[in-house]
């Protein structure tokens, strides 16, 4: 199971089981539903933007551990950021999912997302990891 524990790192399993910021917002400035037509997974992201900053962001999802954990970490990471800053994190995540970062490079802005290193070996699951980000940032 060594391969599997690389993919399903404890951080991911933890976020899957106890996702942060899970649920809808009563008041929001934006809401988007996105599904992966290949598998039917669905994620809905709710957010509030105040003075250009994301003041609140939550989600609900019917999906796998990878997409749920990614959404959970995303909502944690993006509070207080501008959309521009959020896009920079997403770009970093995309890069991180496609290749191992050069030694010594700082992955600090990815936070718990560093646990997604194992997804690189599962090309079909990269889509799961980026689904909530695409929902929020490409809507």
């Amino acid at each position: 199971m060594s391969d599997l524990t690389q993919l399903y790192q404890d951080i991911i399993l933890g976020h899957n089981k106890r996702p942060r910021n899970y649920g809808s917002l009563d008041e929001f400035t934006g809401k988007v539903e996105k599904n992966n037509p290949l598998c039917g997974d669905e994620v809905t992201v709710y957010w509030k933007i105040k003075n250009d900053q994301i003041s609140e962001i939550t989600f609900t999802a019917q999906g796998c551990a990878i997409s749920r954990a990614s959404a959970s970490i995303m909502t944690d990471l993006l509070v207080g950021k501008t959309i521009e800053e959020a896009n920079i994190v997403f770009e970093k995540l995309r890069l991180y999912l496609s290749e191992e970062p050069p030694e010594g490079s700082s992955m600090e802005c990815l936070g718990d997302l560093v646990a997604f290193s194992g997804v690189r070996d599962y090309p079909s699951r990269v889509k799961c990891a980026v689904l909530p980000w695409i929902a929020f940032l490409e809507s």
């Binding site: 391969d3 598998c39 039917g40 997974d41 019917q62 999906g63 796998c64 551990a65 799961c128």
Partner: protein, 406 residues
């Protein structure tokens, strides 16, 4: 067991594949089946020895290819007991077959206000073409509901049938649940109401013998790749008189009798429905896979597949948190299930790490899964080359999931 599964496995070279360091356990046969060496050889030989375009050359190879293609049509016709090979139209697959019927039969015989009946358990391939057709024509789509065990609600079907019904199009065996539908009863009742019947046989022909004359269906469609043959080849069976009354589906070469700007005339069926160069090698390979199947004791194959299904149902039922969807008494050999607290995709990934191939997702049957209130299932689907040992591996691997995702 009256046949040797070890010998059969040896005839399918891909079954010797290693996934990482583990032997492949291929349980995704409802998505596509693997191919015996005989069929692979036929494909190879065709391009090495026979390749030419058909129906239009006078040279040696063209005649050889044409004869092989038309021989394939005869063998497919015999396989499903069509009354003539001219009732066999080669298409790309089940999906194209249904689109052909929706366009050709639909446009000619189904008008605004008429009704087409399908069911909740249809594959998207037997839903979307009818939605498109109904949108364009003003016809109305009616849907037979499904019970908790995954069977058609026949009383509701009786109520849906009326003089407005022009076509009933249902799946013979469900790709998502395995249910084998009471198609003879459906056909009798539909005919009594004056409607024609199309059966989607994609999941049926690879498992049990189909006799279109005995069924008395008007159309029957299936794909080669789920029948141990190549992708890109499929079959539309249609009663000849019906095919004869239908306009072409696509226009092009090889489907015409004579072309002029004053007016073009079309070939008789089946040529009328085969515009352009068809998948010649695919048709020939389909005949080869049929020959392969006919060589086996099909009653024994079916009995063995049922044993596998019973064994899998029993083994999986013992796993905590596992729920099986589709518990009809008559099923083809597949088990669709969910596991509490674990998404089917994660189930499939864990199984893949043990070399076990299953399908996870909605299986192109989203309305059906919506009816059960779930977004997806994992599905283990069996063929006669699978073994009890493979089902044991599946059950052991599934048991690990409880630990990993606890």
């Amino acid at each position: 067991m009256s046949f040797d599964v070890g010998k059969i496995r040896g005839e399918f070279p891909i079954l010797a594949t290693q996934v990482g360091k583990k032997p492949l356990v291929y349980l995704d046969n409802a998505a596509t089946t693997q191919k015996p060496q005989e069929v692979i050889d036929v494909l190879d030989d065709y391009y090495a020895e026979t390749n030419a375009n058909i129906h239009r050359g006078v040279h040696h190879l063209a005649e050889k290819a044409t004869e092989a293609y038309e021989q394939a049509r005869r063998e497919v016709g015999q396989f499903i007991n069509a009354s003539s090979e001219n009732e066999i139209v080669f298409v790309r697959g089940t999906t194209e077959g249904i689109n052909l019927i929706a366009n050709s039969f639909g446009n000619k015989f189904i008008q605004e206000g008429d009704e087409v009946i399908i069911s909740t358990m249809e594959h998207h391939a037997n839903i979307v073409p009818w939605q498109l057709f109904c949108e364009a024509s003003g016809a109305v789509l009616r849907v037979i509901p499904v019970t908790d065990s995954g069977e058609l609600e026949m009383s509701a079907f009786n109520d849906l049938l009326s003089e407005r019904t022009k076509l009933v199009s249902v799946v013979h065996a469900s790709n998502s649940l395995g249910t084998i539908n009471p198609v003879k009863e459906i056909i009798e009742k539909a005919h009594a109401a004056g409607a024609k019947v199309l059966l989607d046989g994609a999941q049926a022909v690879g498992h049990f013998p189909v006799d279109v004359q005995d069924l008395d269906c008007d159309f029957y469609v299936f794909s080669g790749h789920k029948l141990f043959s190549a992708t890109g080849i499929g079959v539309v069976y249609g009663k000849y008189a019906l095919l004869e009354s239908m306009p072409p589906y696509q226009g092009g070469g090889d489907m015409i009798s004579r072309v002029s700007f004053g007016g073009t005339t079309y070939k008789e069926p089946p040529g009328r429905f085969e515009a352009g160069t068809p998948h010649i090698s695919g048709a020939i390979a389909l005949a080869a896979s049929i020959r392969y199947l006919e060589k086996q004791d099909r009653t024994a194959l079916l009995a063995y597949e049922h044993e596998l299904l019973d064994y899998a149902t029993e083994s999986l039922s013992e796993i905590e948190g596992l729920k099986i969807y589709g518990t009809a008494p008559e099923k083809v050999s597949l088990v669709s299930f969910t596991m509490e607290g674990t998404h089917p995709h994660d189930v499939a990934t864990v199984l893949d790490a043990d070399g076990i191939a299953v399908r996870a997702g909605h299986h192109c049957t989203q309305p059906l899964l919506q009816r059960f209130g779930i977004p997806a299932t994992a599905r283990a689907s069996f063929a006669f080359y699978n073994t009890r040992e493979e089902i044991d591996k599946l059950a052991r691997s599934l048991a690990k999931i409880q630990v990993l995702f606890a």
